[in-house]
């Protein structure tokens, strides 16, 4: 069903398309708003979410739309740039409200999420963040989250490394200007201490691509493994430079590591690294999505793209469950749905807004992603 992109469905999937009525036999359009960085340093995350969501919207519309009660609705995605800043997120949000947004897929970054959660509450809009991982984001009952929280990731990884793999001494490298990285690191450190392990050194960085100093420092400790709760673009520099410095310690990462294989020049540098992710592009279930995505955008989808894609399907489920487009009904429908997505099968949501899905440990073996035992 994915072959032959008709121009009609193109307009549907494009953001900001102002064609009021969509193709097919739908009576109405349901507007999904999206907010994330499309320009600036964090652009890759927002663009991925947007593109993943576009694929989902296109799929759904081409398959006839969403059945909401006795109506069939077409989806429309309007995605606004916030440059990962709080104040721009607020204007982006208001722009979307002007544009008739029904539900919000966003924001992509934590700071932006925090800036709009109360506005969304005031408007009683269902908000689903694909990737905002700070715990406070879901404090309001209209907000749900698709990714894992920072604490959850940190704790899960600590348990995996200490309880399952019996490491005692672990070095950490994290980005202290980033709330995600810091959040995971802090939970990790607390859990490691609780489980009797030691953090030999926690090396921070703010920006830039040079990690030699931090890695040299780590080399000087008796760490048995390195935990790096950072995004794949930074991680690629870390593993490459570690190989240069002949560091052979195993690497462990957070879900931000997804996509790393396409970012390193030498796959050997990441061999044996393990990270936590709900999704990896090598999975069989993701094959269709990956093919469509590569076809449309010429790159391999990462976890953000998968989050964006799943987010749209979560909304579809909620619409079908609620049988109306009323926000209140959609919000209460959220806790009743189960969605099979790329980032997990049978994803459901607790009343606190958190996703119930299994975390997967992914290990890089022979230059490929593989499910770790």
């Amino acid at each position: 069903s994915m072959t032959g992109c008709s121009s009609k469905s193109d307009t549907n999937s494009g953001s900001n398309s102002d064609s009021g009525t969509a193709s097919g036999t739908s009576d109405e359009t349901f507007v999904i708003g999206g907010i994330g960085p499309l320009t600036g340093d964090a652009a890759s995350y927002g663009i991925s979410v947007k593109q993943g969501a576009e694929i989902a919207v296109k799929e759904i519309n081409e398959a006839g739309g969403v059945k909401v009660g006795d109506k069939t609705m077409q989806l429309e995605l309007k995605f606004e740039d916030d440059q990962a800043t709080a104040d721009k997120a607020v204007t982006a949000y208001n722009t979307l409200m002007d544009g008739g947004m029904n539900v919000l897929l966003g924001c992509v970054t934590t700071g932006s999420c925090l800036a709009v959660v109360d506005l969304a509450k005031e408007d009683n809009i269902l908000m689903l963040t694909p990737s905002g991982s700070a715990a406070e984001i879901t404090k309001n009952d209209n907000v749900f989250r698709l990714c894992f929280t920072d604490p959850l990731q940190g704790e899960t990884m600590a348990e995996h490394m200490i309880t399952d793999l019996h490491y005692k001494n672990i070095a950490v490298i994290y980005k202290n200007s980033d709330e995600y990285s810091t959040g995971v690191y802090e939970a990790f450190a607390a859990k490691v201490a609780e489980l009797g392990g030691t953090i030999t050194t926690a090396e921070a960085f703010a920006d830039g691509e040079d990690f030699n100093t931090q890695l040299t420092s780590i080399k000087g400790t008796d760490a048995e493994a390195i935990f790096a709760p950072i995004y794949y673009n930074d991680a690629a520099h870390v593993v490459t430079q570690a190989a240069d410095l002949s560091i052979t310690l195993p690497f462990f990462g957070s879900d931000g590591w997804d996509g790393i294989l396409d970012t390193v020049t030498d796959k050997a540098t990441v061999e044996g690294a393990t990270f936590l992710s709900p999704f990896f592009s090598g999975e069989e279930t993701a094959a269709d999505f990956v093919a469509n995505y590569e076809n449309a955008y010429n790159t391999t989808p990462d976890q953000f793209a998968a989050d964006g894609y799943d987010g749209v399907y979560v909304f579809k489920s909620a619409l079908e469950q609620a049988k109306t487009t009323e926000s209140a009904d959609l919000i209460s429908a959220m806790t009743q749905i189960k969605v099979d997505g790329l980032t997990g099968t049978g994803i459901s949501f607790s009343a606190t807004g958190e996703p119930q899905k299994a975390a997967k440990f992914i290990k890089i073996e022979n230059g490929e992603y593989a499910a770790a035992k």
């Binding site: 104040d87 204007t91 208001n94 722009t95 925090l114 200007s177 980033d178 810091t182």
Partner: protein, 323 residues
């Protein structure tokens, strides 16, 4: 004779201010303003305050400053911590926050004043940039500011619902800086810009007035920071990096160095422009860049001179005079 003229000017300015206020308020309460534009009201005011205050150091004192966002962040965090910890009615805690934010930023203005005395030109520019980054880095690693996670849940004492207050603060800033520029102290500052050797030679203490300009500018940047934190409700150290400082500098230069009215107009244009370009989608930043370049070139080009001195304009002026 001159006094009467300035009085007239003053009345005219006040009248314009009141008219603008009434128009905005009625648009706001009449529901005529889209939500997008509603959410721009406060950022516009913030940028006006920032630009007008930066104009004091960059336009009037003539020193390139790349760390204005640093002062803003000091004010933003101080103000936010005040309201987060006070839990008193807005009428009490918000003024306290404003005052505390302004003063805290002004103190940093004094600290930065020390290198200002020894350095000039690009060396000073780098040092102000460095100060901004140092402030950011320290805020990022402090417990009380919650590090990289930043602060959230700051009460929205300065969002669009409180436009009247923010507008008043903006107007006060504009008048204060304008009056300062036309005072004895402001003249000293301008004299230093035009020729510091001659300024010294007529008995102006160059160091004193350089520091004074930095302190006053920092104070108002701090106020802008407090408004920022109480408009958005969240704070992150990275918001106030040197890109923010440059954004303000762009406004000042585009508006014309040493022109307060220019700063106000440019702040409005450059805040609204990126929003108007939203429909351009992924070409937005590209267009913004092009518009910026074209505006800068136009601004200092012969074409503008020609338009300004053109027949049409002078004829218009003549007509106006005759009427």
């Amino acid at each position: 004779m001159k006094n009467r003229q300035t009085d007239k000017q003053l009345i005219k300015n006040i009248a314009i201010t009141i008219i603008i206020f009434i128009i905005v308020e009625s648009l706001l309460y009449g529901g005529l303003l889209s939500r997008q534009f509603r959410s721009l009201l406060i950022p516009v005011c913030i940028n006006v305050i920032l630009a007008v205050s930066l104009n004091l150091t960059t336009g009037f004192l003539g020193e390139l400053t790349l760390g204005h966002a640093g002062f803003m962040s000091v004010g933003a965090y101080t103000g936010a911590l005040v309201t987060l910890n006070m839990n008193l009615p807005m009428a009490i805690e918000f003024p306290v926050a404003l005052f505390a934010g302004g003063i805290a930023a002004a103190i940093f203005g004094v600290i930065i004043g020390v290198p200002v005395l020894r350095l000039r030109g690009d060396y000073l520019a780098i040092v102000t940039l460095a100060f901004g980054e140092i402030i950011k880095s320290i805020i990022n690693s402090m417990k009380i500011t919650n590090g990289a996670m930043g602060l959230s849940g700051i009460e929205l004492h300065a969002n669009y619902k409180h436009f009247a207050y923010v507008f008043a603060l903006t107007v006060i800033t504009i008048f204060a800086i304008k009056n300062m520029v036309y005072s004895r102290q402001g003249r000293a500052v301008c004299a230093i810009r035009d020729n510091y050797i001659a300024a010294e030679a007529v008995g102006i203490s160059v160091s004193r007035f350089k520091v004074m300009a930095f302190v006053v500018a920092a104070f108002f940047a701090g106020i802008a920071g407090v408004i920022y934190s109480h408009n958005v409700g969240t704070l992150k150290p990275t918001t106030f990096d040197y890109n923010k400082s440059i954004e303000i500098l762009v406004i000042v230069v585009l508006g014309g160095m040493g022109s307060i009215r220019g700063s106000v107009i440019a702040a409005i244009i450059l805040t609204v422009l990126p929003e108007l370009l939203r429909s351009a989608d992924e070409f937005r930043m590209l267009l913004y860049a092009i518009v910026l370049i074209v505006m800068m070139i136009f601004n200092s080009s012969q074409i503008k001179q020609r338009i300004l001195s053109s027949e049409i304009l002078s004829r218009l002026r003549r007509v106006k005079k005759e009427a």
